[in-house]
């Protein structure tokens, strides 16, 4: 905790002078952002000229933009000139055994039921297990390669598959899309690239690989997933284990593209450090995620479980361009203590017979503020478009807030849009009923919450569903009675 406070104070404090702690060997760019920083990053990564141009275009756009202020969140100004935009792969602090790991983190691992081996990986007790996992990774890679699936870092893709990156990078989230997307486009460090060829069904959850390979990809992550005609992939990012990071600002960009009859299922479990009980510290998570259902009958489905971060600002969206395409958004966002979340989705109906479904479950406890912000657009061309949205808020305690801001913009008479929202609380009567059946308050809350979120949880891959359920209980510990 104390260490985090220090780091965060350093990043946001007005008397910032010295930059990051110097006890970690690293190769980093000079503090602040300039054209030189962008050139430095591109050069460090041995990028081709076109990629540098692309980044510079984004940088120039960013210079002219202003930080958005419309979100229902409050935080001190971020000094973008006090951030280091490039640090080479950080050497992980070597820990000899799990006994050396912060007991608080360990107890969370245990509560989540994370296997010992993975715990070691997550905590950085890596040595021989990394060797193990490397071989596991190799096996994965082999079987993916056989099917023609490309799964690598975005840096590697820029070098190895420039034609694909050139064609699709920025095609869903353009460089100048918004302030943070522009920033990301200029300075993104690394991220993942997935290409599923025509007619291929990715044989595994890409989560498994990702999780073992969950190395520090930095604060400006970039993900690009392309599903060719008739292909399918399920991708899981994040991790239920608490993630601590010394970078306070995270501004990732994720782009998904589906061709005719293709489907991408993208699941996120986000548990970044939320700050302490007094609201100090914590990650600012400002993410742009967008999918384009480019082809007919294609489908993009976003599932997210958000429990971490001091501030979350994120709207995974779908542009439903192909006729009969489907967009889905399932979300659980939990805020406790002083956390603030402003999250939701955009469903943009352009093609005919496009359908979308939004299920958002917000849970606010402590002194937190939880907002749903969603937009459903039915364009003139979108005959017979249909959207259904269900946005529920659950309040625990009387110091928190829940907010719903849906925007419905309908320009086609054959479109049908239905929106429902409710706000309720975990009341004394409900708790007493559960107590009377022998359950403690904590057990009761955890059971009620899991029931409330069931519709979203069942969208997650099995093993994550179980962890996500436990994660929620831990996030809300001590919020009742």
């Amino acid at each position: 905790m104390a260490e985090n406070d220090k780091i965060i104070d350093e990043v946001v404090g007005n008397d910032y002078k010295y930059g990051f702690t110097t006890n970690i060997e690293q190769e980093f760019a000079a503090v602040g952002l300039s054209e030189d920083t962008v050139r430095f990053i591109s050069a460090k990564k041995n990028e081709p000229e076109w990629m540098l141009e692309w980044r510079l275009k984004a940088y120039k756009a960013w210079l002219k933009m202003e930080q958005p202020k419309w979100q229902n969140v409050h935080f001190p100004n971020i000094d973008f000139q006090s951030i280091i935009y490039y640090a080479a792969q950080k050497k992980k602090k070597v820990i000899n055994s799990l006994d050396d790991v912060d007991p608080e983190i360990r107890s969370t691992y245990d509560k989540l039921g994370i296997p010992i081996q993975e715990q070691k990986l997550l905590a950085g007790v890596a040595v021989d297990y990394v060797m193990d996992s490397e071989s596991v990774i190799t096996t994965f890679r082999e079987s993916l390669k056989e099917k023609g699936i490309i799964f690598c870092s975005i840096s590697e893709a820029i070098r190895e598959h420039p034609e694909l990156v050139k064609q699709y990078l920025g095609s869903v989230v353009p460089q100048r899309d918004n302030y943070y997307a522009a920033l990301n486009s200029a300075v993104f460090s690394d991220g993942s690239f997935v290409f599923i060829p025509k007619g291929v069904r990715c044989p595994m959850e890409l989560s498994t690989y990702f999780r073992i390979n969950a190395e520090n990809t930095g604060q400006f992550e970039r993900t690009l997933i392309i599903a060719e005609e008739g292909s399918y992939v399920s991708y899981l990012e994040g991790c239920t284990a608490p993630m601590r990071d010394e970078n306070q600002l995270h501004a990732a960009v994720v782009e998904l593209i589906t061709m005719d009859n293709a489907e991408i299922k993208y699941s996120t479990v986000q548990n970044w450090y939320p700050g302490d009980k007094e609201g100090k510290g914590g990650i600012y998570n400002f993410v742009t995620k967008r999918g384009m259902c480019k082809g007919k009958n294609s489908k993009i489905s976003w599932t997210q479980v958000e429990t971490g971060s001091a501030i979350t600002w994120k709207y995974p969206s779908c542009i439903l361009k192909g006729d009969n395409s489907i967009g889905e958004f399932y979300s659980v966002a939990v805020t406790n203590n002083y956390q603030q979340a402003d999250t939701g989705t955009k469903m943009i109906h352009i093609g005919k017979n496009t359908r979308s479904r939004i299920v958002s479950k917000g849970i606010s406890a402590g002194k937190s503020q939880n907002s749903y912000r969603g937009q459903v657009q039915v364009h003139k061309t979108a005959d017979n478009a249909y959207n259904f949205s269900q946005c529920d808020s659950l309040l625990i305690g009387d110091k928190c807030g829940a907010h719903t801001f849906p925007y419905l913009e309908i320009k086609n008479m054959t479109g049908k849009v239905e929106h429902e929202a409710t706000t309720s609380k975990i009341g004394e009567d409900l708790l007493f009923y559960c107590n009377q059946r022998g359950l403690t308050n904590e057990e009761a809350v955890s059971m009620i919450i899991n029931g409330y979120c069931k519709e979203v949880f069942k969208q997650l891959p099995m093993e994550f569903m179980v962890e996500a359920q436990k994660l929620l209980s831990i996030s809300l510990e001590g919020s009742v009675g």
């Binding site: 007493f432 009923y433 009377q436 022998g438 059971m447 009620i448 899991n450 029931g451």
Partner: protein, 252 residues
């Protein structure tokens, strides 16, 4: 089984039970009747440990333990069961999952391992038959969209599952049609045993046609003002509560 001595209970400023006394021995069935607003439901909720009821004085001993020192969940795990007058709905939580959590909470309390899935399903099947419910009930969210009768049957089903020592039935018969009433009463009768006692709170004598009580008590003004056998309930049904009020009026 249960010994209540000089119990005085208030909500906020208002005294609801005053100097309430009652003894229930193992295997006995007691019925408490009385006009509305006389403290019957307060008694049930206080015994189950609802926090807004403040115990000002008195003691409640349950199987040798001081009940008032325990939280609501602990009392339940010790074997006190309340069939609610208004069972709550819990969206998204199936009766199966709810019962699994409750049964295992009780087992853990008594130092037992969680029940394995097969045994649990068997137990459920057996108890469902008791209240003439089919399996579909248990996969629906608890009480959500249930009719009044279904809710009450679900309460008796839960009672059967948890095998409590003391069963408190708070107006379980209110609003039930005759079929549901018969099913509920039948369930209760099958659960009767020499180690299990019942305290049945009711406004109507009707239920007592099906469940034969050992004792009938009349509550008025926060205490028991008259006790007797089954025949007392019949008299109340015929003559109403006015004569009790008059008798008590004389006493006070």
């Amino acid at each position: 089984m249960l010994s209540i001595k000089n119990l005085t209970v208030a909500i906020g400023e208002k005294k609801i039970l005053s100097d309430f006394n009652l003894e229930i021995k193992d295997g006995e069935i007691h019925a408490i009747m009385g006009p509305n607003g006389t403290g019957k439901s307060t008694l049930a909720s206080t015994l189950a440990g609802k926090e807004e009821y403040e115990v000002l004085s008195g003691e409640v001993i349950f199987n040798g333990k001081n009940l008032l020192e325990m939280g609501a969940d602990e009392r339940a795990r010790e074997g006190v069961f309340l069939a609610f007058q208004y069972p709550v709905e819990i969206p998204g939580v199936s009766t199966t999952n709810f019962m699994k959590a409750a049964v295992n909470a009780k087992r853990k309390h008594h130092g037992l391992d969680p029940m394995d899935a097969k045994d649990f399903l068997k137990l459920m099947k057996e108890k469902l038959a008791l209240v003439e419910m089919n399996k579909e009930f248990t996969s629906r969210s608890i009480n959500e969209g249930f009719s009044g009768g279904e809710k009450k049957r679900n309460e008796i089903f839960q009672m059967a599952m948890l095998e409590p020592a003391l069963c408190l039935l708070d107006e379980t018969d209110s609003g039930l049609d005759i079929d549901a009433l018969r099913i509920v009463a039948n369930g209760v009768n099958q659960l009767k045993s020499k180690n299990r006692s019942f305290l049945i709170i009711t406004h109507y004598q009707r239920l007592l046609n099906y469940i034969v009580p050992d004792f009938v008590h009349v509550m008025y003004g926060g205490r028991i003002v008259k006790s007797g056998g089954k025949e007392l309930a019949l008299k109340l049904e015929e003559q109403g509560y006015d004569w009790i009020k008059e008798e008590v009026g004389e006493l006070i």
